[in-house]
Symmetry: C2
Subunit: 199 residues, 2 copies
DNA sequence: CATATGAGTGACTGTACACTCACTCTTCCC
DNA sequence: GGGAAGAGTGAGTGTACAGTCACTCATATG
C-alpha cells in the first residue's frame, strides 16, 4: 500500500498550499510546476489534471493567501478589547504580523505584484486588496486616511521582510524597520506616529 | 554608412536605459535579453559583449534607476522654499511623483523586489533603498518616524500604480489612492504645486 | 469474476531562451 | 596600401520548461 489514493477534490487544496510555498520562494516565472508538484509530492502531470494551467494554479494560490489574510484580520479584531478605530486597526496589524511570520504569504503578494501584467493575476490581486481594504475599513470604522496608512505600512512591511531589514544593523535599515518585527511576538507599526522617536 | 559606430563605453548607458524600459515592462524573468536588445536596436550577441550576464544587466538598470530617483529627490529639495523637515519631505514626494509619471522606474523597483532572492539583485536593491532613505533623512532632517512614513507611502504608491488604482472608481481603490495622482500635473500627499509653469 | 471509473505517472513534444563563436565590417594609424 | 583594434552580428548549442498522451493501477459495484 505504497500510496493512499485520495479524491481530486481532497487533493486540490493540498496542492494549492504547496503552490503557495513554492511560488512564495521564487515567484511566478521563477517557479516551475515541477517545483510545485515536488512540494506536493505528486507528479507534474497530475498537477495539470487538477488545475488547467500554471496561471490558474498561481491564481488559486493567491486567492488562498488572501483568504488567510482576511481571516487573520478577523481574528485580530475578535481578540482585542480596544474598540476604537485605531485600536481595531492596531489589532489587525498585530494579527497580520503574526500571520506572516513565516514569510510565505507576504512573499506571494510581492511576487504577485510583479506578475500583475498577466491579466488574471492582476485581477486576482486587485480582488485580494479589495477584500483586505474593505474589511479593514468597515470593521474598524476608521477614516479613509487611517485605512490608507494601515495599508501603506503593510506595504512597507513587505519591503522590510523582502530585504531582511529587520535584523540589519545599518541605521537606514533600522529607520525603515522601526516597530516592525517579524519574529512571532513582535508588534507591527504603531498607529500613532505623529511625534515619534529621536534620531 | 548604414550604422554609425560608437564606442562600447558610449553605448553601454544607452543599453542600460533600454534595459530599464524593457525590464520595467515584464520583470527580470519575464524579459529576455533579446527584448532588451530590440529595445536598444542592437543584436543580443552584442548585449553580451557589453554586459557579462543578464543578471549584471539588470543590476546595471536598477542602479541607474536609483541614480535617477536620488537625483529627483535632490531637485525637489532645491525647488522648494519650505525648509521645514515636513516641507522638505513633501517636496521630495512631489519630485518623486513627477519622476515616476511614466511608470518605468517605479515598475522596475517592484520587479526587483520580486527578484531579490537573486543575491546580486537583492544587494543592489538594498543599496538603492539605503541611498534613498539616507538622502531623505539627512537632507530633510526629519524624525526617523517621518522618514519611515515617507518610504511607506512610496511603497503604497507602487501598489497604486501597479494595480492602476488611480483611475479606478471603486471606493476601496479611492481610499488607497487618496492624494496620489500619477498624471504629470498631479500632486502626492498634501502638497501643492508651487512652481509657476505654463502647460 | 468483469468491467467501469477515476487516481496517478513516465515519457514525450515543441518551443523559448541564456549564452557562445566564428565571422565581417569600420576606423584609425603607420 | 596594410594591418591592428574594436564594433557588431548570424547562426548556432544546450538546456529547461509548459503542457500532452497513452498508459497502469486501485477501488467499487454487480
Amino acid at each position: 500500500m505504497r500510496t493512499k489514493l485520495s479524491t481530486a477534490d481532497e487533493r486540490r487544496p493540498l496542492v494549492t498550499s504547496a503552490a503557495v510555498a513554492a511560488f512564495a520562494r521564487t515567484g511566478y516565472r521563477g517557479t516551475t510546476v515541477a517545483d510545485v508538484a515536488r512540494e506536493a509530492g505528486i507528479s507534474s502531470a497530475y498537477v495539470f489534471k487538477l488545475f488547467p494551467s500554471k496561471e490558474q494554479l498561481f491564481v488559486g494560490a493567491l486567492d488562498a493567501c488572501f483568504d488567510q489574510v482576511v481571516d487573520a484580520l478577523g481574528r485580530g479584531v475578535e481578540a482585542t478589547t480596544d474598540h476604537t478605530p485605531e485600536g481595531l486597526l492596531d489589532a489587525m496589524g498585530l494579527a497580520y504580523a503574526e500571520l506572516i511570520a513565516d514569510r510565505s504569504l507576504l512573499m506571494l503578494q510581492v511576487h504577485a505584484q510583479s506578475a500583475a501584467e498577466v491579466p488574471e493575476i492582476g485581477a486576482a490581486l486587485r480582488r485580494g486588496y479589495a477584500r483586505v481594504t474593505e474589511f479593514a475599513s468597515t470593521r474598524s470604522g476608521a477614516t479613509d486616511a487611517a485605512v490608507q496608512r494601515f495599508i501603506a505600512f503593510g506595504q512597507l512591511c513587505h519591503l522590510v521582510v523582502t530585504l531582511d531589514l529587520d535584523d540589519a544593523p545599518e541605521p537606514w535599515a533600522r529607520t525603515l524597520a522601526l516597530g516592525i518585527r517579524h519574529p512571532v511576538f513582535g508588534a507591527v507599526a504603531p498607529a500613532e506616529i505623529t511625534e515619534g522617536g529621536a534620531s
